[in-house]
């Protein structure tokens, strides 16, 4: 079970800051982020790509589960 960050209800740029902190902490591996806006989904996707992480987006109703992975 990978670590999960809950960024739902947080406005920009908090979801990105939380995700970046986790990326810096882990360096590699995998974790997931829950978000509830398209903006947060897009911003985290861009951050992940810039940092060399793979991202998989799983829509869940009006929310998204983002799976981040780096070997």
């Amino acid at each position: 079970m990978s670590e999960q960050l809950d960024a739902r209800g947080l406005s920009c740029p908090q979801p990105v800051i939380l995700t970046e902190r986790k990326i810096e902490e882990l360096k590699s591996g995998n974790f997931e982020v829950l978000v509830d806006t398209d903006t947060a989904k897009e911003n985290i996707s861009r951050l992940a790509r810039n940092k060399g992480w793979e991202i998989e987006i799983i829509p869940q109703g009006r929310e998204y589960q983002l799976l981040l992975k780096k070997e």
């Binding site: 947080l10 406005s11 740029p13």
Partner: protein, 376 residues
């Protein structure tokens, strides 16, 4: 057979959605705003003020009689268009998401002081870019102040500053600011005289000065709607552009802002609206310290609230009640700004403007220092 089947419609929507998220998407939207802002000036809006969210909300405050400076009173349809353009986009792309409850009163106060700072400089970040693109050297001070203010905000963000989570709420909550905007539109069209028992304004509409300069309502509204729609899609934000470069070295939003600047510059050159210098620039003063200081305050307040004035309108259009509080704070702040001699004018800085900037900075620092979650 219908031209577009349901399936094809979805394909088009998904294509548009991904296009607007690209670097080219945001560059095109920035350029669109730059070109049309400069054109609006040519067509009748005030010089170097094709679109200025702070100035236009200040004009709205004046039209409502929240201040009585008779040269800056008009209900600007661009602002109404921004909110509805965003609302329409949010509905079409299924992003209308009514939410509220992330420290609304703090956002109101941040909007209030953001406006006070912006009116000491005389412009929001958009107008800072428009002034720069037309050769107004004083805008360099404003832009520098904005960058410093956002930079201070980033330090707070790194130290755990956070206004907390919002909650999903009723659709009608998300509709309140659009309804206020619709009411303003009615006030503009019918311009009733409701003061002194129906004998005088409000509604006040300037007969001279910047408030009297405007393109026809329909053109303002259409361009406002288009900008609102496009900016909602691309998340265009001037404060976010600076913040993302400092915070995460991401130049996505910055490329849109740069496109706005370049497009407005080229359009101004073509239209003969470019005049380089510091002296005699339209609706501007040359006090470097407070041009800078005013925008430090505005930039910090935008950063703490998570968006520039334009972005707050677009967020409010997609249902964000906290952003709506920021907008209302700005409008009330504009009333105070002119009533209390805080706002600058081409003659110079307002009598109490510098003191208000310092008080605003202290309040923003208080908010930034005390509203933090512990960071490990």
């Amino acid at each position: 057979m219908p031209l577009i089947t349901g399936n094809e419609g979805e394909v088009i929507m998904s294509y548009l959605k991904s296009f607007f998220g690209t670097r080219w998407g945001i560059i095109l939207v920035g350029a669109f705003i730059g070109v049309f802002a400069a054109l609006l000036q040519k067509w009748g809006n005030p010089p170097n003020m094709g679109v200025c969210v702070a100035c236009f909300e200040r004009d709205i405050a004046g039209a409502l009689g929240l201040h009585r400076v008779d040269v800056v009173q008009y209900i600007r349809p661009e602002i109404i268009g921004f909110v509805f353009g965003s609302l329409i986009s949010a509905y079409i792309f299924k992003e209308f998401r009514p939410r509220v409850g992330s420290a609304p009163v703090v956002r109101f106060i941040l909007g209030f002081f953001a406006m006070i700072g912006a009116l000491v400089f005389l412009g929001c970040p958009w107008r800072t870019l428009l002034r720069l693109s037309a050769g107004d050297g004083n805008a360099i001070l404003g832009l520098s102040g904005l960058i410093v203010g956002v930079g201070v905000g980033v330090v707070f963000l790194k130290k755990g500053y956070n206004l907390g989570r919002n909650q999903v709420t009723y659709s009608s909550v998300g509709w309140l600011l659009p309804l206020i905007m619709a009411s303003l539109f009615a006030f503009l069209v019918f311009a009733p005289l409701m003061g002194d028992g129906g004998k005088s304004g409000p509604i006040f509409l300037s007969a001279k000065g910047p408030g009297s300069m405007h393109v026809p309502i329909v053109i303002s509204l259409i361009i406002g709607l288009a900008i609102g729609f496009l900016a909602q899609r691309t998340r265009f934000c001037t404060m976010g552009a600076i913040r993302d470069v400092i915070l995460i070295r991401d130049f996505h939003l910055a490329s849109g802002v740069l496109a706005l600047l370049v497009a407005a510059f080229l359009t101004n050159l073509i239209l003969g609206q470019f005049h380089a210098g510091f002296q005699g620039q339209p609706i501007a003063h040359t006090n470097h310290i407070w041009n800078f200081g005013g925008m430090v305050l505005a930039g910090l307040a935008f950063a703490l609230a998570g968006g520039c004035p334009g972005r707050q309108l677009f967020l409010a259009g997609e249902g964000d009640g906290d952003a709506a509080m920021f907008v209302l704070g700005m409008i009330i702040g504009a009333g105070f700004s002119h009533n209390f001699s805080l706002a600058s004018s081409p003659a110079g800085v307002g009598l109490y403007g510098p003191a208000a900037v310092i008080i605003g900075l202290l309040i923003c620092l208080f908010i930034g220092f005390t509203m933090r979650e512990k960071v490990e």
